[in-house]
Every structure is written in structure tokens, then in C-alpha cells.
Amino acid sequence: MNDAKVLLDYGSGGRASHRLIGELLLSHFRSPELARLNDAAVLDLRGPVAVSTDSFTVDPIFFPGGDIGSLAVHGTVNDVAMLGARPLYLTCALILEEGLPMADLERIVASLGQAADAAGVAVVTGDTKVMPRGQADKIFINTTGIGQIMVETPPSGDRARPGDAILVSGSMGDHGLTILSQREGLAFDAPVESDSACLSHLILKLLEALPDIHVLRDPTRGGLATTLNEIAGQSRAGCLIEESSLPVKQAVKAGCSFLGLDPLYLANEGKFICILPEAQADAALSILRADPLGKDAARIGTVTAENPGKVVMRTPLGGHRMLSMLEGEQLPRIC
């Protein structure tokens, strides 16, 4: 592509659009189905399928630990994996702002392509629109993921049962704090990185060994606290969390206390909550800890019959308090 910036023409459907697709997108998304350039993709799927869609508007578009391209893959692929499915296909719609530097677009598309390859998913169809300057912010990406369900009874937010163990696959709050600390106007530079990562391999490993996992959820926007509340509500059970067992990195703790934030409400993009029968908790933990993405996995609590719909935290002193749902936005546009 010769132009240094994205022009309105690239969304026209004419020659310029074709150049963008042919020269840029197809060189990074190497799926035969996409290369056919038909109006729709033909997929070969049998049995129950999981589908999830998500739009990515994160600002800044490049951040320590990732960028909007890889995030658009990880976010959607992880959502599909949480249903106990093997993610196979991805659709990808780009909304570009006129004037976006071509180099930025290329970097994002390359990162998206690499993340899709690494996740084992094929980008099979897509769309590109260009908005006049000021009517979109740099780049928005929508992806839809499709995957094949691998277990008899898929994990679901309403399956937490009293007595189940609650695990998390690693430290909380890394992504949210990273994005916030990168925001313009915040003279704050924390030694933190986004945890953006594809979790499907680890999830499949876990499900292969322990097919009776009751709940899998990735605590993205709203963080651990919000997601646990959702699960408690869906399952009509309580969650009792041990505050002292929550994995939070020292740098995240420090950054949060500086900015007056609670890491338990910050987004994660490479972590998940796993709720399963107590008897399988130790086995799950050793599988998780054996994988780099789960090395800080911890058991953080128990599902209870008391306090249905609520998440209760036992503090290190032995006192109790509620861990409530996040009210409104703590941070805008973190994913």
C-alpha cells in the first residue's frame, strides 16, 4: 500500500478497498476460505457449536503486553473457550478512522493474524469500513468466534453448586491497570503489562482431564468481583472468597492504591475463573500451575448455600464484607 494514511476510499468497495484487502489483509489472514473472497464463508461444523461476538474499542490501541489486534482475537476466542468449546473460526470487521497511519493498521492486522494463528483459529470472513475523521477513534474491531463444543454438559454460569471450589488461573487486574496507567493525563507509569492471552489451549487441557467443570468465566470488564456476582446471581448460590488467597501482583496493588482503584474490579484478558466440585480442586490446580498461563493459579473460595446471589469476602482479620457488583464505569473503554 502506497498511502501513508487510511483514506475514505478504502471503505468504498472500489479499487482502493480491493487493494487494502488483497495487499494487506490477505497477507496476514492466511485462510483459504477467506482467500476465496466470496460473499460468505462456508464452514464445516457438526454437533453443538458455541458462538460469541465482541467489539474492541480499547484506547490506547497499543499497550504494554498487547494491542487492539491481538486483544480482538484473545477476547473472543476466550469467550468461546469458556463454553467448553474448541475455537475454530473467527470473523473480523474493521472500522477505521480516516487518517489512521497505515503503519499502525499494518501492525494491528499483523498482530491479529499472528494471534489467530497461535490460537488455531482461521479468519474466514471480514469487512472493512472507513469513517470520516472524528467519527470513529482510530480503529474499532469486531470479531465473532465460532467453536465446537467438546464436553457433554458445557460449563455455564448457572451451574455453581454449594460446596464447589472457586479457582482463578492467575493474578487479577493486570490488563485494566495497564490500560489506565497508559492513559493520557495520568502521570503514572506502573511496571505492569496486560495479561492479554489466548486461554483455549489451557481450557481444553483442563476439560480433557476434568470434564465436569461447572463454571468457566473470564473476568474481563468489571473484573473478578463483577463476574463472581454474575455467577452467584445465575446460580442462586453464594460465593465466599478468602481475601488473603487472592493473587494480585505487588505492582498492581501499588498502582491501584495510588489511583484509588480496586484490582478486583479491573479487567483481565488472560485469566479465568473455574468452579468445580471440591474433590477435583487440587487436580485442577496442578494442571493450571503446570502451564505458564496458569502458574499463579489459586483457590480463592467456596460456593455456599448461604447468601444466595451475593459474594462475601472473608478479610484477613476474619471479618466479613460484601464484594458487590461494580456500579457504572470504573474505567471507560478498556477492551
Binding site: P316, L317, G318, G319, R321, M322, E327
Partner: protein, 362 residues
């Protein structure tokens, strides 16, 4: 062990809690700092105290004590053409007359910018020379010195389009005001850590000398708070009325004279309106004559509008510690953090919001 973790050591905390349980013959204490409120709820201390140690949450959050008339005043300013409001984020949702707030003002076209420090708003004034940039000066002695320093910088740099709307409040006169209410039955105070780091110990001495009450400046970790509580329990038992500084690792007895000096160079004490309490003499800060051109009141010809009280809000009684938030008929019903009726529900440090967020049986 990391330095802060020492002040959370569960074993030490439990020992203090045991002593409090053993020795307490009953004490009603009030904490007057939003960060203490949150800390007490977050650590679960309030669920571990004996029943006869009664915790009252006082007017500890600057947002919560901002009066409806003050809210109405800045909303009026926000609606004026050519005015840009610069504010800390927690004011955005504070409800004013008819439930209007800065967010609704923004939706109606007002230019409202959230800043993280008063100096950011000075930068804004430089970038927007054609607009009047008004910083909403809300906060206790902790923020007032920084705002004063910003005003000094504005004057030095001749940024005439930078204004401050001075709604700062002072803590010690407010404590005096609270105690003059005969219905208040407070037997001891936990004094704020950050405010005290600026003003020091002396301004609180009247609590012991004139009112016969014990009080402790203390930090925000569980160990700090429990130590202060044990102190109050023991003082109560022996009829003592000492006012002490238990937060020496941060608060010097003399406070921060430099910050105080800047503050009083720019501001002078004035009467102030407190939400639900009314006027408390000498409890606010007005901008001195030399800085009049940066005073939003004088320079932009603004007066505090008269407003009808917020219907049904019991913030006044909650702020005075006369009522627990969950005893307010609107609590959790009409009034939630998403639809706050009173400002105590808006700020994360407000007592109603803390109750809503942390209290299990509320």
C-alpha cells in the same frame, strides 16, 4: 514482609481485638474521614467489634458535605456559554436540584472536563484561552493547599481565564459544629490521617480541653485503626480526654507548615455551608482579595442560588451519625449508587455508598 503488610498482620490485629473485647465497657466513636470509613468496612473491622463499641460515620467525605446550593451554583456556571468546568471525577454524579448533575449538564452541552489534579486544570486554561476555565475547589485541608498553589501559579503566569470556585471545608471547625448539637452523643473521635498531615495536632486540642473527649489521629491500616480504638476504649474507661497522634510515621505533630502557609496566603477562613448540617462558622475558605480575579464568585458574578431541599434525603442525619445509612427509608430503594438521591451515595467514600457496597445485612 512488605512494610504495609506489617500494619495488616492478622495475628497482631487479633490480639488488639481481644483486648478491645476484654476491656470495653462501651464507647460511641465517630470517624470523620472517608478513607477510614472505607477501611473499616473493607477490612471487616466493624463486624469484629464488640456490640458496645458503636461506630458512627461522620462527615468524612468532601463530596458528601457539598451543599445542594453549592451544587446548584456550579451547575449554573456549567450552563453558561464560554465556561469550561474542570473537576475531580467524583463530583460528576453528585445530585443537585431536580436530580441534575454534571453528567446531565454535559449531555445538555456543557463543557465539563475531569482532571486528576488542580494543575491539570491550569494546563486546560492555557490550552483554551478563549474560555473561562473554572476548577471546582472541593476538598478538605488535604486538597486546599494544592489548589492554593495552583492559584498562585495562575496569578504568576497571568492566566486570567483560570478561576476557582472555592467550596473547601475545614475539619476542626466542623467537629466543633457537630459537638454543639446537643443530640450528638459522641464519646471519642478517630481523626483523619491525610488532613492531619497538613494541619497537625494542635487544631484538635479543643476536643480534649473544651469538650472533654479523647481523640486519636490514626492511619488507614487495620492495625492503625484497632490501636486507636483500644486507646479510645481505655480513655473512656478511665475518664481520660487525651488527644494524641498515633500516625507519627506520616503525620508530624506540627503538620505541614509550608502547605498551611500557602493555603492561608491564598485563602482566608470563612463560614461554609455543609450538606445536612447548615452553616458552620469559620469552616470554609474564601479566596483573598489579592486573588479576586481568579475567584469564580467575584469574577463571574456568581451567588449561591436558593434551592428546595432534596426530598426524602436523610444525609444530614447520617452525616451527623444520628442515623445509620440503612435506616434511611430511601436506602437501597430509591437511593443506590446508580441512582443516588444524596451525595453520601455518590462518592465511593460516602457512608451510604460504603454501607451499600460492603455491609452484608444492610
Amino acid at each position: 514482609m512488605n512494610f504495609l503488610d506489617k500494619f495488616r498482620d492478622p495475628e497482631l490485629c487479633r490480639r488488639l481485638l481481644d483486648l478491645i473485647h476484654k476491656e470495653s465497657k462501651g464507647v460511641r466513636f465517630m470517624e470523620v474521614c472517608g478513607t477510614h470509613t472505607v477501611s473499616i468496612f473493607q477490612s471487616g473491622i466493624h463486624t469484629l467489634l464488640p456490640d458496645n463499641v458503636v461506630h458512627l460515620t461522620g462527615p468524612g467525605c468532601p463530596v458528601c458535605v457539598t451543599h445542594d446550593r453549592e451544587v446548584a451554583a456550579y451547575l449554573e456556571l456549567a450552563a453558561r456559554p464560554g465556561v469550561t468546568i474542570a473537576t475531580f471525577g467524583d463530583l460528576m454524579k453528585v445530585p443537585g436540584p431536580k436530580g441534575r448533575n454534571l453528567k446531565t449538564a454535559q449531555a445538555d452541552g456543557a463543557d465539563v472536563r475531569v482532571v486528576y489534579s488542580p494543575f491539570d486544570s491550569l494546563e486546560l486554561a492555557r490550552k483554551l484561552p478563549d474560555r473561562q476555565v473554572v476548577f471546582l475547589g472541593i476538598g478538605f485541608e488535604t486538597t486546599a493547599p494544592a489548589v492554593a498553589a495552583t492559584l498562585k501559579a495562575a496569578r504568576e503566569q497571568k492566566l486570567a481565564n483560570f478561576k476557582v470556585l472555592p467550596f473547601h471545608k475545614l475539619v476542626p471547625p466542623a467537629l466543633r459544629g457537630l459537638l454543639s448539637d446537643p443530640e450528638m452523643r459522641i464519646e471519642g473521635f478517630i481523626l483523619p490521617g491525610h488532613v492531619s498531615a497538613v494541619i497537625g495536632l494542635d487544631p484538635y486540642k479543643f476536643l480534649g480541653d473544651d469538650c472533654g473527649l479523647p481523640a486519636a489521629i490514626t492511619g488507614f491500616e487495620p492495625l492503625d485503626l484497632l490501636q486507636a480504638l483500644l486507646f479510645l476504649v481505655r480513655q473512656k474507661n478511665t475518664g481520660g480526654h487525651e488527644v494524641v497522634n498515633q500516625y507519627r510515621r506520616v503525620v508530624a505533630d506540627a503538620g505541614n507548615p509550608k502547605a498551611m502557609q500557602v493555603m492561608y496566603e491564598v485563602f482566608e477562613p470563612a463560614d461554609a455551608l455543609w450538606r445536612g448540617i447548615g452553616t458552620i462558622p469559620g469552616s470554609g475558605l474564601a479566596i483573598r482579595e489579592e486573588y479576586a480575579e481568579h475567584d469564580a464568585f467575584r469574577a463571574l458574578d456568581l451567588t449561591l442560588p436558593e434551592v428546595p431541599p432534596l426530598p426524602g434525603c436523610r444525609c444530614g442525619e447520617v452525616l451527623k451519625g444520628k442515623m445509620r445509612p440503612d435506616q434511611c427509608p430511601l436506602f437501597k430503594k430509591a437511593c443506590t449508587p446508580a441512582t443516588p438521591v444524596g451525595p453520601c451515595m455518590v462518592s465511593t467514600e460516602g457512608s451510604c455508598a460504603a454501607y451499600f457496597k460492603y455491609q452484608l445485612d444492610a
